[in-house]
Symmetry: C3
Subunit: 205 residues, 3 copies
Amino acid sequence: MKFTFLEIIDILGVMAFSISGVFAAMEKRLDIFGVFIIAFVTAMGGGTLRDLILGNTPLFWLTDKTFGWLVFSSALMAIFFRKYLRNFRKTLLLFDSLGLGLFTIAGMQIAMRYGLSATACIALGTITGCFGGILRDITLNKIPIIFEKEIYASACIVGGVVYLLLLKTTLIREVADVISICVVTCIRLLAVRFDVRLPSLYRSQ
Amino acid sequence: MKFTFLEIIDILGVMAFSISGVFAAMEKRLDIFGVFIIAFVTAMGGGTLRDLILGNTPLFWLTDKTFGWLVFSSALMAIFFRKYLRNFRKTLLLFDSLGLGLFTIAGMQIAMRYGLSATACIALGTITGCFGGILRDITLNKIPIIFEKEIYASACIVGGVVYLLLLKTTLIREVADVISICVVTCIRLLAVRFDVRLPSLYRSQ
Amino acid sequence: MKFTFLEIIDILGVMAFSISGVFAAMEKRLDIFGVFIIAFVTAMGGGTLRDLILGNTPLFWLTDKTFGWLVFSSALMAIFFRKYLRNFRKTLLLFDSLGLGLFTIAGMQIAMRYGLSATACIALGTITGCFGGILRDITLNKIPIIFEKEIYASACIVGGVVYLLLLKTTLIREVADVISICVVTCIRLLAVRFDVRLPSLYRSQ
């Protein structure tokens, strides 16, 4: 079995988001079945919306069993190792940010295959990156992370622009992939760490 | 007008979920228009998501008027007979469980037509069965029933496995249908009645 | 650049809903990025669900850049002029009602192209008109406007019936368009102004 680089990014993204789903679900004390559902929703949400938008059906996770098993085993692993983790919130943030970066670039690559414009590629990358987390939070009855004060979708957009610029250089594509993924993930992590926010539209209260 | 057995299951499922939608909406004291919308959302939600996943568009309820009228008349009936019912919650539970069983098996049969794997068939049956109720609860701003403590999607999965096993026996297909529908509905009802829950991941509080 | 009348209706609808999205988002004090997302969700929600139902993919706003820029510039304008407006709620109501009328008729015209029945055309028009606002309110964690006490989807249905009747007269199509749009918008505005409600199913409390 040989994987393309895009497939590897996709697999790592699915694993990262499954794990983030598990921790978000355990924070809300869902039963074991609910934990698996949230893992699946988080990991498949972005790709599902992307493919619905593109009209790319039957959806990939229905025809390709790999994804179901990947979510299942990642979730199982996360559940098993939960005892060794002190801080659910930080683990959740880390894996959420990783998934965000991986899926943004994976989504952009698929958009480019469809010959979409630069703006549309960035939009589709951002949707692929963000929607799993949005769906996870809506399903868990939380205010979606995207509307919290910290930078979220903005990280995808910056990473997307960086990616398109890098592709115009002489860099090998895989290197451009890795750099852009790191850009998205790091912006997100640094924004939370240093509490960076977008400028406010309102007078301070 | 002659119906296939699948069509009969589908019709009964639509009626059951329409009625469950009416009672859920009346519990929240929605106006008459809201009650009809929730009935429609509950009855069509599962099949809609199933067909979006399969790429089976334009959606059935848009091209086939039967479904609209079926929801309308079932909802009207439920509204009319509401005075004779003492316990909205129990009625809601009964019809929700019935719809769950009927739609799970209907969804699986459609998945089998697409030549999907056993796992994918069970997944699609579960989605068809559960999504109407999830959408109903989200729209009514309640925590989706699927995340409540009792067995819900698990009933669909068990029923789906039973169905696939029964199809391998010499049983007539229609008999396998009826048995599996009963399995899903009964598991759901018994789980609520005897308060059966999935094992907890957390230390007791 | 010449536009058809349907395109003009669509453009005005997108602008109206973008603005309504901006005001709804500012009421909840979202950051500037959140405001743009809500504007986009509100303006594109109805058409997106309509096209998903019809299987009309890749979605229009991905392949046609006009829509993205239209939302962006309308939202920017609304943000800029926010200081000159006293009453966010009234402005939100006005633009929401305008968008409702415009999108209902635009949705019906597209449904007619697909040769759908009268009932299906009205249903699709209502969905196109209402779903942007529903999505806006769900994303902002509010109870969807459609379930508030005032007339909302009913206005679309009445307007849809009026539209189909007008098309059977000798009126020019564009005139029928404008009258029906006004019907929807005015019903909605008058219903809020005079607090008209649908008859209640429940004994008064």
